[in-house]
Amino acid sequence: MILKLQGISKVYDKRSVLEDINLKVKVDETLGIIGPTGSGKTTLLKIIDLLEEPTTGRIIFDGIDALSVPAFKIRRRIGMVFQETPILKRTVYDNVIYGPWIRGEKPQENEVKRVLELVGLLGYENKDAQRLSGGEKQRLALARALINGPELLLLDEPTSNLDPVSKKRIEDAIEELKGETSIIFTTHDLFQGQRLADRIAILQNKIMQIGRPSEIFRKPANNFVAKFVGVKNMIKGEAEMTKEGLTLIKSDKINIYSSKPAEGEVIATIRPEDITVSWGPRDSSALNQLKGKIIGVNEMGSLFQLQVECNDEMFAVYMTRKSFHDMNITIGSNVWIEFKASAVHIIQ
C-alpha cells in the first residue's frame, strides 16, 4: 500500500471541506477522484502532498506517518501537477531540472529527454517556458514532476481547459505511466475517469463511493452518485419482499419488481439499454411490463433515446437506429416497455 488516509477532515473558517476521508491506494494503482466543482478534490490532493494540514486524520505514506516527519522528505517521493500550474521564469530545460537541482543532484540528460519526449516537448529545451501555450505549460509541469521519479503522482484536473492535442498527450502519458507508478488524479470528467482509472472515488466533501468504474456506473451506492454518474430511470418507492423472494417496489405511480433484496424506502434504477420496447405485451420472462406513450425522441449517433411516459413515470429507453426504423415509432405512439427484475438496481 503506497498511501493510506485515515479519517481525514478539513475545516476552513468553520466550513467543512472534507469529512472523514478513508482511502487506500495500492502500489502502481491509478485512482481517479471525481467530483463536481467545490467537492474538495484539490484540497484532498494538497493534503496528500502535505501542502495543507488536515484538521483531523492520519496520512500513512508507504508505511510512514507522513505528518510526523519533515514534509519535504515525503514530498520528494511524490510528484504533483496543479490544475493551474505555475511555471518558473526559466527555460523549459531549467524548469524540468528544478527538482533534481534542489535535491543537489545532477540531472541525467537521457532522463530529461525521456520525460520531455513523453509529454511531446522534446526540442523545446531552450525555449522560454513562460512563452509556452497553456497546454504546453501543463505538459511541462508533468515532465517536471516525472523527472524526480515519483512513487506517487498527484494530478489535479490535469486536462481541464486544455486544447485537444495537449489533452490527448497528457492522457496518453497517464496511460503510459499506468502500472509504472501510483497515480491519483482528479477530474470532473466522468468518462476520463472511467477510461484512465483502475478505481474511481466519487467525492462530494466525503467519499460517496469508491470502486471499479463499471461497478460505480452499474451500481451507484446512493442518490448522489446515481445523479452524478448520470443514471437515468430513477424511481423512488417503498420496497417489500414478496413470497417468491422478489422485491416489489411501489412508487406513487407504478409497481416494479427487482431481484435484489431490499426493504423500506429505496430508489430503483434501470439502465436505458436494459429496457425493450414493443407494440404490445409479450410473453417473455421479463417481470416488468408497462404500458406507455412515446413523448420524445432524441437521436444519439447510432442510438435513439426515447422518452416513454408510463402512468406519469418517465423512462429513458435506448434503441438502435435499425429497431427504431423497423418499428416505425413516432411521438405519440402507444407502446409497451419491459425489463427484467434482475435489471432493476436498488439504492437503499
Binding site: 494538497k46 502532498d49 501542502l51 519533515p70 514534509a71 519535504f72 514530498r75 520528494r76 511524490i78 510528484g79 504533483m80 496543479f82 493551474e84 500550474t85 505555475p86 518558473l88 521564469k89 528544478y98 527538482g99 534542489i102 535535491r103 517536471r144 514532476a145 524526480n148
Partner: protein, 228 residues
Amino acid sequence: MNEILQGILKALELIITLNPEVIDITSRTVMISLSSTLLASLIAVPVGALIHFKQFKGKRAIIDIIQTLYSIPTVLVGLLVFLLISKSGPLGSLNLLFTPWGMILAQAILISPLITGFTITALKGVGDEIVDLARSLGATEYQALSTLVSEAKYGIMGAIILGFGRAISEVGIAIMIGGNIRGYTRVITSAMSLETSKGNLELSIALGIILLAVSLIINTLLNYFQEK
C-alpha cells in the same frame, strides 16, 4: 532663445571635452546615490520580504504607511537626519553632517520605503503558488522562499532602480545634509541649484543633460526588467 541655445551648445562642449568639474560632480553624484541605494536595498529588500511572508496583525496598516512614505518630501527627511546627526543630535558624535556619509544615510532613509513597498509588490506579483510549487517538487521551506525571491528578482531589481532614480534626483538632502561643499559634497542637483542662482547657465544645463541621460538609462532598465 539665443541665450538658451548658446547655453546648450556650451553645455555639450563641457560634456564632450570631459570638463573636470562636470566629471567630478557627476562621478560623486553617482557614487553617493549608488551607495545609498545599496545601503537601502540591504535593509529594505529583506524587510519587504519579511512583511510579505509573515502574517501578523496590522500588516495592511504597515503597508499603507510604507506606501504613504513613497512621496515623503526630501526636505523633511533632510530635517529629520539633520536633527539626528547634528552636533547636539543622538548621532552627533559620528560627525556625519556635511559629509558624503551623511548624504548616503539620508538618501537611504528616503528611498527605503520605496524599495520595501515595491519589493512587497514584486513578491505578491509572483504569487504564493510558486512556494507551493517549489514545495511540491521537494524544496525545503528555505529553498521554496528562495525560489519565490528568485522568481521576483526582476521586480525587485525594478524597485532598486526606482530607488536609485529617486536618490539621484533629490536636492533637499544634498543641500541640507551635504551642504553643497565644492569638491566634497557637491552633487548634480545641488550644483545646478547653485550655478543657476549664480547665472552660470552652461554648467547647469550640462549637469541637467547628464541628469536627464541618467533618468533615460534608469527608465530603459526599468522597462527591461518589467518586461521580464
